[in-house]
């Protein structure tokens, strides 16, 4: 099947349409077939004499990955032909702009880089949560849908921690795209999800500056440069880049995985909350480290060997974003103290956990005039201070703690949406939090959160019995 198929011809249940891509590894056609409810494309690999077998393996890997992944950030798998007879892969056709074209417009302003970065980080997080590492994140493999969400394509180099790695071999060698490949991939490691974060960092560097941090090396020793080379800080190239964005980018392209973010969710979190990014020396750097510092890094890197990384799902689990729903109107009651204890126990077991303390303001004054808005922001600040006070016993470094005051009439919905948007792994909430009565036939806030949350919910009760409708018997005996 080395030649292009003619429009109108058929393979199994599919009728070939226009050829939309004619690349080295194969062809991509629009196809029609049994109604999937969305438009389809078919990938057909180039096979036959003189074709690299790696391309066929990549095709097989992609088929294996797509049929195992369920994610709105990945084209849906529809069908595959038998690899021994008629190899093809039918997937959802994604309407979107290839990120390559955004690179063409670079340097892009800070907020646009952050928006794209957060969208790609969402997509990477979704993969990692399914134990999949993409291992070839680059602009050409990212589509941006019209609504701004990112879709990752081309899973030919990907790895699924629960399936045999067809790209693996005894003698490890670098497999990836030279510009974006992570240092550990250069060493032949295909098991670290943080490799995707490194590549994301290179993409963001490129979008923000129009330049590549490590160039386009052609040799193995050129690839190894990224194990020690300190790239030019983005703000040295484009002074308009916000320091916080430089902080995020340089943290992503740290040579050692454990110096990077522990999860894609935490990257997305920072890109969406610039004011919560903890600035370190990375943010203010305007030049490369000096000669001697470089020599030192080189010497360290020279001895670096491939390290075994825990699988993606374990790394995601070890770096949860925990949302504590705090009732800042009743900070001193037993329930809030019980909540503190519960959060401490959760955070204590996960050194990479990040705590977001959230309070929802219901009754903010109407926005009519300068004075009222001052009052609103005054209230806002007041609750932020209370949240910070509440979180003090957690004794967390600033990069692991943030406080957020949300405003909205529907407290439960606000909490659930916040958890969803920030890939929270757990919401910790008090059972009788927000002491308001139930609204008509509606559910309590805690019930609504526990039913609608996108993640686990830890419902905390204080040891003191709650007086009121929930515990009449206790009340009676206490009085009797």
């Amino acid at each position: 099947m080395a030649v292009m198929l003619k429009p109108g011809s058929t393979i199994d249940d599919y009728t070939i349409g226009e050829c939309v891509h004619d690349g080295g590894m194969g062809f991509i056609y629009r196809v029609t077939g049994p109604d999937a409810g969305f438009p389809l494309i078919m990938k057909v690999p180039r096979l036959g004499h003189g074709q690299p077998t790696e391309g066929v393996v990549g095709f097989e890997v992609e088929q294996m990955m797509l049929s195992a992944i369920t994610s709105p950030y990945v084209p849906r798998f529809v069908a595959a032909g038998d690899l021994a007879e008629t190899p093809y892969l039918v997937t959802e056709w994604i309407e979107g702009e290839n990120l390559e074209s955004a690179v063409g417009r670079a340097p892009l302003p800070t907020d646009e880089v952050a928006r794209i970065g957060a969208a790609v980080a969402d997509a990477i997080e979704s993969l990692h949560r399914q134990d999949v590492i993409h291992l070839d994140i680059k602009p050409g493999n990212v589509l941006i849908r019209p609504d701004g969400r990112a879709v990752l394509i081309d899973f030919g180099l990907a790895r699924h921690a629960r399936l045999p790695d067809l790209m693996a071999e005894e003698m490890r060698r670098a497999v990836g795209t030279p510009q974006y490949i992570s240092p550990e991939q250069v060493l032949g490691v295909r098991t670290d999800p943080r490799s995707d974060l490194f590549a994301l960092g290179v993409v963001l560097y490129e979008l923000a500056t129009g330049k590549l941090p490590f160039g386009s090396p052609q040799t193995v020793s050129g690839l190894r440069d990224r194990l020690w080379l300190d790239p030019r800080p983005p703000r040295m190239l484009v002074p308009e880049i916000a320091p916080w964005l430089q902080e995020v980018i340089l943290r992503l392209i740290e040579p050692r995985p454990d110096q990077r973010y522990p999860s894609a969710a935490q990257v997305a979190f920072d890109l969406r909350h610039p004011d919560r990014v903890t600035l370190t020396a990375r943010a203010s750097k305007l030049e490369r480290i000096g000669f001697f510092a470089h020599v030192k890094r080189w010497l360290t890197a020279a001895g670096r060997e491939a390290e075994v990384a825990p699988p993606p799902v374990e790394q995601v689990a070890a770096a949860p974003i925990v949302v504590a729903a705090v009732d800042t109107d009743h900070l001193d009651d037993d329930l809030q103290r019980a909540l503190q204890g519960a959060v401490l126990r959760v955070i204590g077991h996960a050194p990479n956990a990040r705590l977001a303390c959230v309070s929802v303001l219901k009754d903010t004054p109407l926005m009519d005039g300068a004075k009222t808005s001052e009052t609103t922001s005054g209230m806002h600040l007041d609750h932020l201070v209370r949240l910070r006070h509440w979180a003090k016993p957690m004794d967390l470094p600033p990069e692991r703690l943030s406080v957020h005051v949300l405003e909205g009439a529907d407290t439960a919905r606000m909490l659930v949406e916040y958890a969803r948007a920030n890939h929270a792994s757990l919401i910790v909430i008090g059972a009788a939090n927000y002491s308001e009565p139930r609204l008509g036939l509606g559910r309590s806030i805690t019930t609504a959160v526990s039913e609608d949350a996108p993640c686990s919910v830890y419902i905390v009760r204080s040891s003191t019995p709650v007086l009121g409708s929930g515990a009449p018997a206790v009340q009676e005996s206490a009085e009797g």
Partner: protein, 246 residues
């Protein structure tokens, strides 16, 4: 068709029963026994009867070294295994012993090779413990898929990007595509005497139509199986092994 693949049942009726019930729930239509039906455990007769009934119903069984040792006293075994087989011999009736004796060493059908140990000289009971042994067995099998036991841990050998085979440690319950365009050698794990620190019985399901393999672990009443071993007067270490899983 979904095939349930069980190896190294070793006279463990509780484990066999749990695996077969699990497999039926998962839609297994045919049972394949990859040798070492007897040895170590306390229920040789009952286990042979179950296997023989499956073979009569269209299933398949190949001979393992412990099965061989029932008739062939010259087979090389360690002391515990020897003691168990000597005990087993007296617990099997004529028909049961004849069934074991009549089992084939190796069967090839529809692109699959079934064998207890290595397909390379199967009667020598070579252990497939690394990629080189696996390559030898795969080469001798001359089929797309080769399924075996003898080694008690679940492993899937496959051709990666390099010249040598890669060993993959499967996770229970995860379907693995094993397409017929490449070659695979799976060790399905021991149903009756797991040795990887996990006491749950091991087996695998092979879906021939979808070319998909799922390794399973099934918790079973290993306390009951251990108690029977002790009651039978078999070595206590064999009972302990079922509890500890190694």
């Amino acid at each position: 068709m979904k095939l349930a693949l069980l190896a190294d049942v070793h006279s463990n009726l509780e484990a066999l029963d749990a695996c077969m019930r699990h497999a039926r729930r998962e839609g297994a239509e045919r049972f394949v026994f990859l040798g070492d039906i007897v040895g170590y455990g306390a229920d040789p007769g009952a286990v042979v009867d179950v296997v023989a009934a499956q073979v009569a119903a269209g299933g398949l069984a190949v001979k393992g070294n412990h099965d061989d040792a029932v008739r062939n006293a010259g087979t090389d075994l360690n002391d515990d295994a020897r003691a168990a087989i000597d005990w087993t011999r007296g617990r099997l009736d004529q028909a049961q012993a004849a069934f074991l004796d009549g089992l084939p060493l190796i069967v090839r059908e529809d692109g699959v090779c079934w064998v207890h140990a290595s397909a390379n000289s199967p009667g020598d009971w070579n252990y497939v413990t690394d990629d080189l042994q696996a390559a030898r067995s795969m080469g001798a099998a001359e089929t797309t898929w080769c399924f075996s036991g003898h080694v008690h841990d679940q492993v899937l050998y496959y051709q990666g990007a390099g010249r040598r085979l890669m060993a993959f440690r499967p996770l229970p319950g995860v379907p693995i595509p094993v397409g017929r365009h490449r070659r695979w050698l799976a060790i399905v794990g021991s149903a009756g005497q797991p040795r990887d620190g996990n006491s749950a019985a091991a087996y695998a399901l092979f879906d021939t139509r979808r070319a998909q393999l799922v390794f399973h672990r099934v918790p079973y009443d290993h306390e009951a199986a251990s108690a029977k071993i002790l009651a039978a007067g078999l070595p206590a270490s064999l009972a302990r092994r079922l509890r500890d899983g190694h």
